[in-house]
Every structure is written in C-alpha cells, then in structure tokens.
C-alpha cells in the first residue's frame, strides 16, 4: 500500500501571517539570510489504491476535504520509508 505525502500552503497571493512571524523571528535567533517563509500543513497516509485510482482519490480528498482550494494549493507524492518525516 503506497504511503503518500501531501504538502499544503496558502497560495502565493494570500498573506501568510505565520510564515511572516517565523521570518521576522529568525534574525533575532541568529539565523540571517532566510526569506520567503511559508508555513502550511504536511500530511502522510497510506492509501489502498494504485496508479490512476490513487491519483483520483488523492485529488478528491485534497480538493474536497483536506485543503481549501479557494486559498490553498498543494502538491503530493509517493514516499518511501526513508522519506517519512516521523521517525
């Protein structure tokens, strides 16, 4: 069963206050030279589907439930065990 990762961010033309807050805080913590910070959601899950069925199911889940397509956009990919963010 493939494990997929979905990354969700506010669209570029939408102000991201959380990203701005992170960017503004970094220099005070000694991290200069960081720009364009955007903060959103990361989801990982196993989906019991393959190929076109998998793509159709992920698209339906994302556009109908996991994201707000008016203000958010997303990318998804199949990941291996070594790409999981949780250890």
């Amino acid at each position: 069963m493939p494990r997929i990762a979905i990354d969700v961010l506010l669209k570029r033309e939408i102000l991201d206050p959380e990203g701005r807050a992170v960017e503004d805080a970094l220099p005070g913590l000694g991290h200069d030279g960081v720009h364009g910070v955007r903060v959103g959601k990361h989801l990982e899950m196993e989906v019991d589907a393959q190929g076109e069925d998998l793509e159709a199911q992920v698209t339906a889940m994302c556009s109908g439930f996991l994201t707000n397509p008016v203000i958010e956009s997303y990318v998804w990919r199949i990941i291996g065990d070594d790409e999981r963010a949780d250890v």
Copy 2:
C-alpha cells in the same frame, strides 16, 4: 539561493489526534482504504547558504526553533520551483 522544504511530524510513538480525526472522518466522506494518517507542519523558505553551511543552518533552525525535538521529527530537502506547494 536554494529554496528548501521542511516537513515536521509528531514522532511515531506520540499520539496524533489531528491525524486520527482526519482518518476517522474519511470513510464518511467516501474515502475508504486510508490508514496511518499523520498531520504536521510544512515549511518552505529560501536560505542564503550552500552545501554544509546550508545543512548546518537548517539543522540549527529546526532543532532550536522550528520543531520540538522531544516530540517531533523532521525531514528537509532542496526543492525546485516545480515542487513548491504554493502556486
């Protein structure tokens, strides 16, 4: 200036109530066969560093500010324009 993506999730042994809520809601919305849902943070930013300096800076930002290393783990990668989650 490289653009990087950071994915943050609760460690596997930590209960993820948001992931559980998503997983429990999906069948009622017609999405069966989805398991092991974990929900966390996705960040993208440009960092003015390369190679080992970039790795050192990302590690310092993640372990000291962007994540809670006690309960969260993360992966990061350099991304191209076509891999950005915001369009």
